[in-house]
Amino acid sequence: MFGVLMGTLLVTIALVGSNMDIILKQGVSFQVRAELTENPAIAQSFSSVEEFESFIQSQIKERTRALGLDEPWYSPQRIGITMYKILILDFGNATFLISDSGSSNVKDILLEKLPRTILLFTTATIIISIIGIFLGALSGSKSGSKIDRLTSSFAVISSSFPVWWIGMLMIFIFAFMYQIFPARATPTIPPTDPSYVASLLYHMSLPLITIVMIGFGAWAFLVRNFMIGIMQEDFIVVKKTMGVNQKKIVYSHALKNAALPIITILALSLSGSLGGAIITEAVFDWPGMGRLYFEAISVMDLPVIIGATYVLTAFFLASIFVADLLYGYFDPRVKTGQ
């Protein structure tokens, strides 16, 4: 599992590394040139332009060597240092991006964005899963009924719409046609203001409604499919013939048996929600992880990209691990070594 995490990060570095180097080198040469040409005392001490130029070149070379940029990004030394730093959770400083509080430390930036994403996307995921599980159980137990058909068709239709497009429509309808919700999800007042929380929740409502609206159908459909499978099992049929209350069968017997796949999916989607959704955050202008990722990629800010990928992958693997543990708890058959 740890190997998977490191492998993922290696792939990230490999993809971004070369471009990052080019950008950094350009940055260094620009910086050196600016420093030297802005100081007339240095420029005057040279007799010719060529001499001055060669001095600038040597200075640039020295600076790149000092920063360790003279070796290519794939040299074992540089990769080793990067990986070691990641191991001790030192992501270093961002090259371009800064957090809202002005810090350029990657850890600070991540810690600032993560709660916002959790606030929006994890809340949405929880709401989606609760609605989905109950609706799915209901329609799965009454397969073929009106509710079942409605849920299934809603699931199918909603799953083929892109969330961000619905987001655009929602902004168009509820922010501009009927001015109920704000169009931009970022609150305008500073976080120290006491009414900040209320404002944040108000700004959050439009994206939250959109995500939930698009998401719960697919969940309900999944749960329904599990439920239909379980409702055909012998032990449920026996319970039915024994005259056990239908509600009790559905919610305590059938749902418990469907819990396994549901938990796996819940764990995965919860950890997935931490990454936010790049496009949804772009549409709603939500300052979370997704937008951070996009900004970092567009300016090629390697430390931030690595940090964000690390957090995402780590949560993803942790959730797989937790799902495995819960599997053992709910289904003793998969426990080994006993």
Binding site: W165, M168, L312, L317
Partner: protein, 456 residues
Amino acid sequence: MSVITSDEIKTEFLKSRIGITGIGILASLIATSIVVAIIIPIQTFKEWNNPASWISFPKTTLPAWINLFLSEKIPEHQIIDRPAILPAEAGSISVISNQFTIDFDYDGYPNDFIYEFTARYHGSPLLEIDVFRPDGIKLDLISFSLPYSEEQVLHSERIFSTDESIRKNLFLQQEKYSFDIYGLSSEEIIFSKSSEKHPLRGSYVFAVNLYGVETQNEIIHSKFILGGKVFGLMGTDELRRDLAVGLLWGTPLALFIGLVVSIGSVVMGLLYGVFAGFKGKKTDEAMMRFNDVIYALPALPFLIILAVTISNSIFVMIGFLMIFGWVGIAKVARSMALQIKTKGYVEAAKLMGQKNSRIILRHILPQLLPYAFASIAISVPAAITTEAGLSFLGLGDPTFPTWGHILHDANVYGAAPRGLWWWIVPPGVMIAITGLAFVFIGNALDTIVNPRLKRQ
């Protein structure tokens, strides 16, 4: 796992109403693509991002069918490039007359009108534009001579309704109106009733006459544009592009992207998974760990990184989408292969000394085909929406008018705040319809492949 033959799938599939609907939608989309490829000139597709080729189109206009729902009809944008040509000769003076007939049945004034022409002449011919209105009044708009030239020359010019001399000429004809026309724009004067300031419906004829003393004069190219507020099937966008063209070209592109990505990733996943499952032991272990690494990669961020660093060409993007598409299928294919491997006939084939490749291709893969078809259909919508999403972020291939790219432009030009719904709604609906077709087909196939999902 029971074996399902392809005939069974066919009969079962034809029974499912959802599946038929899906096939129906897909068939109509494919038909649209073919029609588009044949009817709409490929030129429009290549010129999508060239503003010069859209110059005679109006800016952000509503679709024309909106008039069906309105009691007050909005004037439609009209481009007439085939005038009625009436050559006439009066002694030594030659006249070339181009007549543009405009049926004006609207309750609003047009935005403007533009006359565009290219003439070949020598000397200094006189160009005159008159309007014959439905109520019989004739208005002189402009008359001027083209620049003098001894040799034969080609002369191109655009005459705009905002031209000051047109307005002045119209003001001089005040006696034809019973109300004060001073200060009105020329299109308002031309299209107004003579009794009051209200649009006059009917058939207008704009006559362009070129008088010359020589007969060699000719108008090569002649085009009259009435600048309206509605246009075409889907309206136009901020860059004057006809959205119907973009939407129609988006159909074959989306189908191409979706199908190639899903078929490619399913084939890759199947081969990889089956090989890992069949080989077993250490090969299996190593291949599955590699699978895990790809599985743990956050797909969208990586697609963005790849698009930014490597290339955003549409074909490269298809390749990237495949890289992230095969992982889940490989996992399922492996577990299925593990089951099939233990079957007697596979063991027998092994004992007979058949090659591994032959066993995989002949005995294992055919069993997985129904599952493969279902997963191809199911993974198409995801491929289309992911590509649309990337295009929406501005990372798609800018040379192709995909639906995502149209939405990206809509977002950039602030279509939502400005209420330009015809720019936002249709591309998304098209994405959804295409996705829906494949989801329907996939669901129908899925219930056949996994009979447990069937309704009781």
